[in-house]
Symmetry: C2
Subunit: 286 residues, 2 copies
DNA sequence: GGGTTGGCTTCCACTGAGCGGAAACTAGTT
DNA sequence: AACTAGTTTCCGCTCAGTGGAAGCCAACCC
């Protein structure tokens, strides 16, 4: 029996009505930490293009309006959210500034070479790694010429529909590949390869030939080619090019450049331990 | 006088001992919100290069160790922090992914042209805006050739020591410029212009000629040139080039390209309302 | 005008999430 | 085996956080 001395009387008084009060109090969701609420608010912006109203945020993050209001205000003061004149909210630059420190090792080391890849080919070039069951685009260099773009820096796409994804999957450890093929493979266009058997064969061939291609598998009008970038013997990343479909036939002429650049990135990143290149575990919780 | 009914007695009882209890409780810092603690933890990573140990984080964010431990754990689960095999922490990719949505309007709109600027000149090109009393680097395109680099994407530098900063300051509204000149101007190298009078004259000349230059004012070995990018009649951003010092004399040959690219960026961003380009208020709380 | 609607802001009594000192644990180091 | 430095777990106390409700403000429409 260790009732706090000073609390005793008031508690005893209250206890009679506790139940009805809790019932009336209703939708309190106990066990939810403040931290989780704050992060949920930030993540609410991921699912939507433009700016969000307070009500939108509350809805997307599953929080009561007044709670959202308080937290959003504090985030705004810290610059993690910013408020437009029309009253809607956006992720703030503070967040962006901070995040530039993330994964810099790989991005900074590889950037000049991805740039060279673009300069030498004139085509949209990108660098991607695996994040769970998806490819995560780390960097991207492109000119003013328009290409139908599906990927964006910081964005994710399924591995089986992209050249970078396929090449990573092909050189990944067996269990990763097996696990991937056992899932439902999402179809993006009529040309997406979704048959596990055929895909397995395709991956074997990719491993053989050392590069992967796609033809209108994510988006009509574009095709792509990619080669692996190794790190300490394992597959670490992939670099690739996206081109308009009409160049599909001659895509392989870029292979020598791709392989040369891949080798340079491998050299530049060799001395950096793999874990520090990105956060150690790029988990796949999307 | 509105004492809460049920609290009255217990409060009265407690008040006697309040002081000693607080003393005993020691370093509790009341009034500090959980949110502020979480954000302080994230910001702890800004001030330091590599990964941080738990103790480092606790120290930098001014939180007790066990509190830090709990919050850091939760942030890790959410992917906002990641843990290396050696036990140290890093900002997680989740944070980076989210942040890619920030300020995309401007960056995405301008990127191809900054890329062109690099392609046409072969020199490190960048795009910057004003953030309080500093220039914030929004984008940066460079090749494999080495230049002594001071700026980085997401990084800030003082306005009076950089070409982009000076050109923004020169075309900024009077009160902004006046406020800036009334502050202590930090000296980076022996060549940094820190005399308010002379700087004011230099800014007037920049406004006259339509471009700004620096010569080893942030870092020895490099010089730079920049032109303004306007938006709805006001200064919005600046684009610039950084070159090795030995090219200082011929730097102005890049002016036509710089001006052409600036015009294109102005055209590309004209239809986007200024507020949505970045977070509306890029406040200067660093 | 004045009623209605939709979203934002403020208020405040209640309470469990957060707190953090302390103790236990783990891994190097001497 | 004793020491040191960093990390993890524990647990009773308490105040920060909570969220329903009421107030507020503009816009829109009879």
């Amino acid at each position: 029996m260790k009732w706090a001395t000073s609390k005793l009387n008031s508690d005893a008084l209250r206890s009679a009505t506790t139940e009805e009060v809790t019932m009336a109090g209703g939708s309190r969701e106990p066990g939810r930490t403040v931290t989780s609420k704050v992060l949920a608010i930030l993540e609410a912006f991921e699912k939507s293009r433009g700016a969000l109203s307070l009500t939108d945020i509350a809805e997307k993050s599953g929080l009561p309006l007044s709670t959202t209001h308080r937290l959003v205000n504090e985030l705004t003061v810290w610059g993690f959210l910013s408020r437009e004149p029309n009253g809607r909210y956006q992720l703030g630059i503070r967040l962006w500034e901070l995040a530039q420190n993330t994964g810099r090792q790989l991005r900074d080391a590889a950037r000049p070479y991805v740039q060279d890849l673009f300069s030498l080919t004139g085509e949209t070039a990108h660098l991607a790694v695996r994040a769970g069951h998806e490819v995560l685009y780390i960097d991207r260099v492109y000119g003013s010429k328009r290409v139908p773009r599906a990927s964006r820096v910081g964005g994710r796409l399924p591995m089986h529909a992209t050249a970078v994804g396929k090449v990573i999957l092909a050189f990944e450890e067996d269990w990763v590949r097996d696990a991937y093929l056992n899932r439902q493979l999402e179809r993006h266009t009529a040309h997406t390869h979704v048959d596990p058997q055929k895909l397995a064969a395709e991956l074997a061939q990719i491993r053989e030939q050392g590069y992967a291609t796609t033809l209108e598998e994510v988006r009509l009008g574009s095709c792509s080619i990619a080669v692996p970038v190794f790190h300490t013997g394992r597959i670490g990343a992939a670099i690739g090019l996206v081109l308009p479909t009409n160049q599909a036939a001659t895509m392989t002429r870029h292979l020598p450049v791709l392989r040369g650049i891949a080798a340079q990135i491998e050299r530049a990143t060799a001395r950096i331990p793999l874990e520090t290149l990105l956060g150690s575990h790029v988990t796949g919780t999307h």
